[in-house]
Amino acid sequence: MANASTDTIAGKTRAGLSREEALTQYHTLELPSPSEEHWRFTDISGFDPDAYAVAEAAEVARPDSMLDLDTAGTAFAGEGGIEIVSAPDGVTFEPLQDHELLGSLVGVSDKLSAQNAALWRNGLLVRVPKGVELDKPLYARVSNSASGGALFWRLLVIAEELSRITVIEEYASDSPALAGYTNAAVELFVGAAAKLEYVSIQNLSTETWHFASHRARVDRDAELDWVAGGFGSRKGKVWIQNDLVGSGATSRVTGAYFADGSQHLDYDTFQRHDARNTTSDFAFKGALRDTARAVWRGMIRVEPDAQRTNAYQENRNLLLSKRAGADSIPGLEIMANDVRCTHGATNSPVDRDELFYCMSRGLTRGEAERLIVRGFFQDILDRIEFPPVRAAVAQALEARIPKA
């Protein structure tokens, strides 16, 4: 709504709170309710964050990965700790301690972010010095393994000027029916003329409540290429915000999701253009089956000085059953005039004409439907540059496409 941008992550962020202050906020604030604009279509009234135990140090689980990677650095994290398996030379890849930039992008904006700020124990710090380029990705797998446990996670990535790296983050559950709660805060700093590829794939159990705030600050002539994959979790909300703060900054976010059963996914995205000649391009596609629901919100905000902005946002949902549902709420707030800002949103079932055509060529209905679903996602997959990630996302989608 009109004031949407002020009540997104940016507006209410209070950085620099101590853990005690954040804990007070956590206890003071109410759980977001559907009377709040951003939570209108995501009702989490059945969720009690206090019902999940904050685990003591325990063994970090290593469930199977969706990705087949050759990494420069690998970390595994869970409720009880973080293990750095390997780290590249010349790059900081270590457990996150207190850091001056911590909380400056994702601070305390609501009860859940306050809880993360107060209670997080394990996180990862990635800092790539000026001009350093890594050919292989840095990889972190965040897994919940404690039944009834809460997992708080923080990732802080600082890509200094002219550096080039890929950071891949994977959320997974140790067992498919694990009941849990994950709460993540991710802060990405992309320095001048740096390039960061960031991949965040979520394949948690369908009994896990998942809340995450991801926010990036993209500096002059820097490039951010982001892939978000959402396949698991029960219900929750994922915030994605890009602040384009330097002239020539570019961000591209590619999202693919597939939900079935009674899953409820929520992506709340915000493209903030705060400098001239900046470009952002968000494209999210999702397929929904059974009684699954997806909420997608997007806001492009162009500040008065951000002339020559080019911004795009897109959300398309393919509805594979009668009882699946989707809410698409794109939005534009434009305060500069020399801009090109567009968005598109569609919701549709499998096209009967396409289905008929495929079946007239001899395919069974199931085969035809699979083909159409694959085709629906193809342009999203084509946007993913890193081959193992593209393969993993394609594989995850394929696994969900209804069998013939």
Partner: protein
């Protein structure tokens, strides 16, 4: 546009064209502010039936209980206690043009009503202040059984119809401003079109605000019976005053099976008016409802004409133009709610922001469970003419049914293309003329849906707005 026409338009003046006002001369004026006593007074003064008085009082409670909306425009500055909620301008309705008081005629002369009259308009019900004082309905409409009255007369003369439909499309507690309107409404149009009657000429009513700090709360109820058709045209202008004025109308429309209703508004209140309007129509089987909504004036407009598609194969269209100039906020839009299967809708929005104005689109497209086979498309385009202006787009799409349902939404925001301006200038136009022409072309898809005299008026108003747009 030729140079001579530019000159003609320029002569109309940089001052607000309709910013004159006549000395006040009222028969009855309520006290400032709002209370159950004032509501009772209004109701008693109008000799209303008890049920209407009770509805008003109940609505007042709803109004007081509801908070001001915290979205859209800034309405916090409205001082509800300094507003006159009811003013009755002359003692009785005039029956012919000659009988009208001179100052009222004078006002309308400036608005071009007599010319409109000459142009074979089907009927003119012009609203001066809170109550319609002049009404003419062509004999042929009367003989067809068409009712076209001001709402107060409608309640007096056709209480049974009013009671059956009043508040059924927009309940008193729908939102804060609908509640306010229900409590203090006065004037507006009451139209009933009997089955099978198709009214070829648009029905028109002009609305004006004249007393300082006077709210205008007209209430319009249109019932289009089976297989009937009506096009209702509402145009608004208001004199400029120094303190803010509030306009909060409610328009309810019922389109029965196979009926068709088109409702056209050109809103051009002076730029101190808050225009907070609730408009909603229900369309039954095979009915068609169309809103054509142009917003050029006012300080703040919050208006989202809505269509509830209640019967199978009903079709809805909303065409919206918003032009936001200096100090203006046009929060316009449209809503289509598909309740029945195989219904379809199209929302087309064009907004232009200039001189620091804020224009935009806010809307809803909803497909309820069970509404299979729905097709809907929402297209919003915005033009930003300078660096100070702002454009917002807040579309909502909610789909609860998938079988055969397809929804599309697209929006763009951009400035006038440099190549377009360059091309037109290379053909001999000045930069200002070229910009005006591009803007006219931008709104063309909606202007072409207007009756001729409105299309001309709208184009002139846009040209007026575009004056001095190129430094």
């Amino acid at each position: 546009m030729s140079t001579t026409e530019t000159e003609v338009v320029a002569e109309i003046g940089a001052d607000y064209k309709y910013g004159f006002h006549d000395p006040e001369n009222y028969v009855f004026k309520s006290r400032r502010g709002l209370s159950p006593e004032i509501v009772r007074e209004i109701s008693a003064h109008k000799n209303e039936p008890e049920w209407m008085r009770d509805t008003r009082l109940k609505a007042l409670q709803y109004f007081e209980a509801r908070p001001l909306p915290d979205w859209g425009g800034n309405v916090a500055e409205i001082d509800f206690d300094s507003i006159y909620y009811y003013i009755k301008p002359t003692e009785k309705q005039a029956s012919s043009w000659e009988d009208l008081p001179a100052d009222i005629k004078n006002t309308w002369d400036r608005l071009g009503i007599p010319e409109a009259e000459k142009n074979f308009l089907a009927g003119v019900g012009a609203q001066y202040e809170s109550e319609v004082v002049y009404h003419q309905l062509k004999d042929e409409l009367e003989s067809q059984g068409v009712l076209f009255l001001d709402m107060d007369s409608g309640l007096r003369e056709h209480e049974d119809i009013v009671r059956e439909y009043f508040g059924t499309v927009i309940p008193p507690n729908d939102n804060k401003f609908a509640a306010l309107n229900t409590a203090v409404w006065s004037g507006g149009s009451f139209i009933y079109v009997p089955p099978g009657v198709s009214i070829e000429m648009p029905l028109q009513a002009y609305f004006r605000i004249n007393a300082e700090n006077m709210g205008q709360f007209e209430r319009t109820l249109i019932i289009v019976d089976e297989d009937a058709y009506v096009h209702y045209v509402e145009g608004c202008t208001a004199p400029i005053y120094s303190t803010d004025s509030l306009h909060s109308a409610v328009v309810e429309i019922i389109v029965k099976p196979r009926g068709r209703c088109r409702y056209t508004t050109i809103q051009n209140w002076s730029t101190n008016v808050y225009n907070l309007v609730t408009k909603r129509a229900v369309a039954y089987e095979d009915a068609t409802m169309e809103w054509v909504d142009g917003n050029l004036g006012s300080k703040l407009t919050m208006k989202y004409p809505a269509i509830w598609l209640m019967g199978e194969r009903a079709h809805g269209e909303v065409l919206s133009i918003a032009f936001a100039g200096n100090g203006q906020h046009q929060d316009a839009g449209g809503k289509c709610v598909h309740v029945a299967p195989n219904t379809s809708s199209v929302i087309t929005s064009k907004s232009i922001s200039k001189d620091g104005g804020r224009g935009g689109y806010r809307g809803l497209l909803e497909v309820a469970k069970g509404a299979t086979g729905v097709k809907s498309k929402v297209v919003c385009d915005a033009l930003l003419l300078d660096e100070e202006s702002r454009s917002d787009t807040y579309p909502y799409v909610r789909v609860d049914e998938n079988e055969g349902v397809s929804t599309e939404h697209e929006a763009t925001v951009s400035k006038i293309g440099e190549e377009q301006i360059f091309y037109l200038m290379s053909r001999g136009l000045s930069e200002e003329e070229a910009s005006a022409m591009v803007v006219s072309g931008f709104v063309e898809p909606i202007v072409k849906e207007l009756p001729l005299e409105y299309a001309v008026e709208l184009n002139r108003l846009i040209q007026l707005q575009m004056e001095g747009s190129v430094g």
